[in-house]
């Protein structure tokens, strides 16, 4: 399946774009997504940490991703 990944803050700089498209297996997990992204964008691994959000909620590595889910990369937050 093809999924779209939103990027914010430094992850937008790393991707060079505010969203990218990725090809993932149909039963892919958040962990699988991170593996693919980190191979393609090694600078992600240099972050202090980062989370993945699925449909506006923080997701766990084992969570499954479905087509049309809204996926976002959440680098360390620093609002306020």
């Amino acid at each position: 399946m093809k999924i779209k990944v939103l990027a914010f803050g430094i992850s937008k700089d790393i991707f060079g774009s505010s969203s990218i498209s990725l090809e993932l297996a149909n039963d892919a997990t958040v962990y699988n997504l991170q593996y693919v992204l980190e191979r393609q964008y090694p600078r992600l691994q240099q972050l202090a940490s980062y989370m993945v959000a699925v449909n506006n909620e923080y997701a766990l590595p084992g969570d499954t991703i479905h087509e049309r889910d809204e996926i976002a990369i959440i680098p360390p937050v620093s609002g306020g």
């Binding site: 914010f8 972050l47 506006n56 909620e57 976002a72 680098p75 937050v77 609002g79």
Partner: protein, 139 residues
């Protein structure tokens, strides 16, 4: 549970936040105002830039405020967060809480801003004379 949560690029208005939070049932109101400081770790800051994942940020702030209402006897809670470029002295965030008694207002207000800074998807870039950096991005 009366709440007002906004994320927007328009300048924040402290007085309208206070007007909204006041009520005849309240005895104490605590207001936290974040301001852009002119230095960070001894280095001069020119300006800040805030970016938000707005839908999720509003959802996360809602969760935090809901937790505050569960933990403390508070009456109203307001969170306004600014996005875009802010100069020194400008206000990126206002949190206001009203309660019958002041302890709840203080504690809930502190809880909301502390948790917001840990979990809400908003990012700050510090802009210096000689470069810029996304805060907290790197170890």
């Amino acid at each position: 549970m009366s709440t007002q949560i906004q994320i927007s690029p328009t300048p924040l208005n402290t007085q309208s936040c206070i007007d909204w939070i006041m009520s005849p049932e309240s005895g104490g109101i605590d207001v936290f105002i974040g301001t852009v400081r002119n230095t960070t770790k001894g280095k001069a800051v020119l300006r800040l830039e805030f970016e938000a994942y707005e839908r999720m940020a509003v959802a996360e702030i809602n969760k935090i405020v809901k937790q505050a209402f569960e933990q403390w006897p508070v009456q109203k809670a307001l969170v306004h967060h600014r996005t875009g470029v802010l100069n020194v002295g400008q206000v990126p965030v206002i949190v206001a809480v009203s309660a019958a008694h002041r302890a709840a207002a203080f504690e809930a207000c502190r809880f909301i801003i502390d948790t917001l800074k840990e979990t809400v998807p908003i990012w700050k870039k510090e802009i210096f004379e000689d470069g810029e950096v996304w805060v907290a991005a790197h170890p």
